[in-house]
Every structure is written in structure tokens, then in C-alpha cells.
């Protein structure tokens, strides 16, 4: 009986814990509560992932108002996978992050900081669980506002200008999405995604719907950081508190990509003629440009976190490229890459947080010899970096392999795309090599003994995350089956 309540609990647990955390007096208790709530959400996500296996979908009517009149929560394989990413990233980041966050956030502000973290978590969970277009907008804004607070919560003043830009661009993106669903509501009279799909067929004048496609797509592309609308991303990742970067980099762009794919495939693909041609015609060039240009910028970047941020822009391009192929393999590749990239990049940013507890500057020239001073943190970073490149035996290899297989099915265009994917992996080798060269092959700047290994708790968590990259490279069963089912469900809507 209580299992039927799980979709609601996935949102309610973090949202209910948020005000409690704000009421607590000390940072330690607030951290403990946030970590416990996050771990509870992760458990719920695991149960939901079990519940949706075999193309099963869980529907939950909020307040017992039946859909399409009430708000419907709808857990599909796709949402279950995203829930795992979000709650997993949050739990791991919080578990490892207390020491690092204590250094960044003043003691008096810590309880409200953890409250904002829980709001961000609850909002992200709400976006992926909801089946109602307007509800998704509200959760999007809950998570965005909370994320702005997290990013600006540290001590680096450059985070303030970065987050201001993010706030402006994020709000424009969300407002575009709001205009889009307004236009669809005007023509169909419904906000439920499933109901929308059914009702657009009866709309006589499709012009407002076509305008809505533009608004929704551009708005979500902006929030997902797809090239060339990624300009808010690098500085936001670079200057926010390190643990926040690990959480945000693992989840927020993926959740926007999820909404983009789910909305587009569920509502537009089935009802508009030739929409899939426009969809891939619009997104594929952007994806290729993202992969090539952002990887190039990453090779030239001198700040470690900004370098990883540009690499994230390139990897978002890989996800979009997979989706724009519009085949089962392509979509599976894109979706499983969301999971694998979240795992790799989350681990890398956590390892960066370990480094940052001991060094003050994250510029590559100041990290000379860090591999000898902090061998465990650097090794965990390098292991995740191998997954980012796509070395066989790591999780990244699985998604790159699927992506290349999907591209080969495309004929002449596919060969060019395979070349792009391979070049992107080579460029990843180049920028990871720059880090490895600085960390291992340059002499430390002096006989400075103050730099030693990060705290044991952080190391244990980071290594668990790094080994998960190998685990999911050798046994990719769970993410791969959820991604495959998600791709099948999405393609089922295509005309």
C-alpha cells in the first residue's frame, strides 16, 4: 500500500526536510539531516527504479484528483534513471562534503545553506517526477532559485557575478518554457503531458503550437547549457563552492535535457508532421559545434574547474547528438551518457574538492606535483577522467560505444559524426593529459610539507564514486536497461 505513495515521497521527503534544516541551530545537525534526507530519497529512487522495470509506468494522482484534471506524477524508466542520478549525486556530495562546505560557508549561514540544498534536491526530483507541464515549471523555478543560493553561498566574489548571469539567463529560459506551455494550453485546454499529446491532434490551427515548439525548445536548450546558450555555465561551475559544483554539474543540465526530450517526444513528435526532421536538423549542428568548440576551449583553459566546465558543455553536446539521431540506439546512447557523464564528472569535481581542501589555487600551474603530494585524490580524479575519455572498462566507454554504433547506422553523415565523436575523445585525452602532466610530471614548487592527503571520509567517498565508474563500465546492466526502456518509450510517441 505505502509503495503507491513512493512517487510523492520522492519529492516530499527533501521538501519537508528543508524547513526543518533551516530551523536547526548548528551546521553539523543541519548537514546530518540533509544527508539523511538525501539518502532516504536515494533509497526511494532505487525502489522506484525497481518498480518501473519492464516498461512499467507508475502514476500518482496528487490529492486524489484524477488526471488530467489534477496534477499527475508519472514515473517512467527515464524519470527513474534521472532520480537515481539526482539523489545519488546529492547523497555522495553531501556525505563527502561537510569539511569542504564548512570552509566555504560561514557558520551562521550553514543551516539555511543546507535548507537551500534540500530545496534544490526536492525541486529537481519534482521536475523529473511530474507529468504536468505547469508543475514542471514550478519545480524548475524551485530548484533554480535554490541552486542560485547554493552557488552564491561560498566566499568567492566571482561567484556573485556568475550567478547573476545564470539567474538572468535561467529566468529567460524558464519564461520561454512558460510562454510555450501557455500557447499549448490556449489551443488544447490541458496541462497534462499525456492529455496534451492526445488533444493536439484535434487542433485545427497549428501555428500557435509551432510557436510553442520554438519557445519550449529554446527555453530548455538554454537551461541545459547546449552550445551556444552555455555562456552561463563555465563561470558558474568555476566559482561556486566545490561540493556544490559536484552536485550541480552532475544533475542540473541533465534534468533540463530530460524535460526537453520528454516534452518534445511526448507532446510534439506524435502530433506534428515532420517534427523529427526539424528536431534533429536544429539540434545536431549545435551538438557537433558544442563537442568541437567546447573541447577546444577546454584544451586552452588554465583553471581546472573551468576546464572541466567546458568539458561538460562538450559532453552535453554528446547527449544531444545521441538524441538527435532519432534511433533507438542513438537515444539509448544519449540517455545512458547522461548517467555515465554525471558519474564521471561528479567524481572529478569531488576529487577537485579534495584537492581544494589543501591547495588555494586551482590553476594548472599551481597544481604542479600534486599527484605526489595527494596521490589518492589525484588517482581518483584520473580514474574518473579515463571514464570521461571513454577508455574500455569504464562507464564512459559504454555510452561512447553506443553513440558510435548509432552514428554508423546513419550512412555517409554517420561516418562524419563518428569522426566528430572520436575527435572529441582525442581532445578529451589532450585536456586530461594537461592535468596529468601538471600533477605527475612537474616538480612540486618547493619542499612544502603543509600539503598532505585529504581527510579519510572524503577519500573513501571519492574512491567509492571513482570505483562506481569502473563498476558501471563492467556491469552496465541497470543504467543501460533503464536507458533502453526510456528510448523505446520516447520513440513510441514518434509519428
Amino acid at each position: 500500500m505505502w509503495r503507491a505513495q513512493l512517487p510523492a515521497l520522492a519529492i516530499a521527503v527533501p521538501l519537508a526536510a528543508a524547513p526543518l534544516a533551516a530551523l536547526l541551530r548548528t551546521g553539523l545537525t543541519a548537514w546530518a539531516l540533509a544527508t539523511a534526507a538525501s539518502a532516504a530519497s536515494f533509497t526511494i529512487a532505487l525502489m522506484l527504479a525497481g518498480g518501473v522495470s519492464g516498461l512499467n509506468e507508475l502514476s500518482y494522482d496528487v490529492g486524489s484528483w484524477p488526471a488530467p484534471y489534477g496534477i499527475e506524477l508519472r514515473i517512467t524508466s527515464f524519470s527513474a534513471l534521472l532520480l537515481l542520478i539526482i539523489t545519488g549525486a546529492s547523497s555522495v556530495a553531501l556525505l563527502a562534503g561537510r569539511q569542504s562546505l564548512d570552509a566555504a560557508v560561514a557558520p551562521a549561514r550553514r543551516p539555511s545553506f543546507y535548507a537551500a540544498w534540500l530545496l534544490a534536491l526536492g525541486g529537481l526530483a519534482g521536475i523529473v517526477a511530474s507529468g504536468d507541464a505547469f508543475n514542471i515549471f514550478v519545480f524548475m523555478e524551485v530548484s533554480s532559485l535554490a541552486t542560485y543560493i547554493l552557488i552564491a553561498g561560498g566566499s568567492d566574489p566571482r561567484a556573485l557575478t556568475a550567478v547573476f548571469k545564470y539567474l538572468i539567463m535561467g529566468t529567460i529560459g524558464a519564461t520561454f518554457y512558460l510562454i510555450g506551455i501557455g500557447l499549448i494550453y490556449m489551443m488544447t485546454g490541458t496541462l497534462n503531458l499525456t492529455d496534451m499529446e492526445a488533444r493536439i491532434h484535434d487542433v485545427a490551427d497549428l501555428k500557435p503550437i509551432l510557436a510553442a515548439v520554438g519557445f519550449v525548445t529554446v527555453g530548455l536548450v538554454l537551461k541545459a547549457g547546449v552550445f551556444p546558450l552555455h555562456v552561463w555555465l563555465p563561470n558558474t561551475y568555476a566559482w561556486s563552492p566545490h561540493i556544490v559544483t559536484a552536485f550541480v554539474a552532475a544533475c542540473s543540465t541533465k534534468v533540463s535535457l530530460y524535460v526537453l526530450l520528454r516534452f518534445d517526444f511526448m507532446v510534439f513528435q506524435g502530433s506534428l508532421a515532420d517534427h523529427h526532421v526539424q528536431f534533429s536538423g536544429f539540434l545536431m549542428p549545435l551538438a557537433v559545434l558544442a563537442i568541437l568548440i567546447a573541447s577546444g576551449v577546454a584544451i586552452a583553459e588554465g583553471n581546472l574547474k573551468r576546464l572541466l566546465a567546458y568539458s561538460s558543455v562538450a559532453q552535453v553536446g554528446c547527449v544531444v547528438l545521441g538524441a538527435s539521431l532519432m534511433t533507438a540506439t542513438g537515444l539509448t546512447a544519449g540517455i545512458v551518457h547522461m548517467f555515465n557523464h554525471a558519474l564521471a564528472k561528479g567524481t572529478m569535481f569531488l576529487a577537485v574538492a579534495c584537492l581544494a581542501t589543501r591547495v588555494t589555487s586551482l590553476r594548472l600551474e599551481n597544481l604542479a606535483g600534486i599527484g605526489r603530494r595527494m596521490p589518492w585524490s589525484t588517482a581518483a580524479f584520473m580514474l574518473a577522467a579515463l571514464s570521461l575519455i571513454g577508455i574500455p572498462g569504464t562507464a564512459g566507454f559504454i555510452s561512447k560505444w553506443y553513440l558510435i554504433t548509432a552514428a554508423f547506422d546513419e550512412g555517409a553523415l554517420g561516418v562524419a559524426l563518428v569522426a566528430v565523436i572520436l575527435v572529441s575523445s582525442l581532445m578529451a585525452v589532450a585536456y586530461v593529459w594537461r592535468i596529468a602532466e601538471a600533477a605527475y610530471f612537474r616538480a612540486p614548487p618547493g619542499p612544502d610539507t603543509a600539503i598532505r592527503e585529504a581527510s579519510p571520509l572524503m577519500l573513501v567517498v571519492v574512491w567509492a564514486a571513482a570505483l562506481a565508474n569502473v563498476w558501471f563500465g563492467l556491469l552496465p546492466g541497470l543504467p543501460l536497461s533503464l536507458s533502453g526502456e526510456a528510448a523505446m518509450t520516447l520513440l513510441g510517441h514518434v509519428q
Binding site: L145, P157, I168, T175
Partner: protein
Amino acid sequence: MTLFGLYNYWVFALLLMIGLYAVIAKPNLVKKLLGLSIFQSAVFLLYISMAKVEGGTAPIIQHAGEPQVFSNPLPHVLILTAIVVGISTIALGLAIVVRIREEYGTIEENEIQARDRDR
């Protein structure tokens, strides 16, 4: 006639563009936020306009015996939520501007960028 009938939607598009222009073109951070606020208000107008039914009244007045035409209440409810979201966004944005002013001593974008370069 159609032009006049779509008056609200023209104003919506105009406000949207004024807001977007201010966000992009103004270097002053507070003016950017004002632009953002105008941009969001345009969307409120879009929702409220679509809720209007010709000859419709508020859906709380029920006269017995006679058929009633009601305006659609749902967009009003939706936009109440969106207004709250808009207020929170602007409030948070202004709070960030205050912090920027504390740290940089200015709220002009070009001066902030110049200072970031010196860092």
C-alpha cells in the same frame, strides 16, 4: 478588426521585446532586473488574456435559472503562481546585486568585468 481584436497579444509581444532589450542592452544590473521583470509581466498578460471569454463573468457568481458564461479561472490561478515565482526571482536577483555592490563597489557590468580581470 483582427488587429484590434488581438490588441492584448500585440502588447504582450511588445512588452516581451522591451524587457528582453533591457536585459541585454543595459549595463546596470538593477536595470537588467527591471527588464527581466517587464519580460515576465508580459507572460502574465498572455495568460490573463487567454482566460477571457467574451461576455464571461467571474466564476463565483451563479444566478439561479439563467445560463451563465464564465471566464476561465485556471490561467488566473497559474499566473498567481508565476507571479510569486517572479517576485522571488527578482528579490533574489536584487539580493545578489547588493552583495555584488558590497564586494565590487559598483553595479555597472563593464566596471565589474574590469575588476574581475585585475584579480
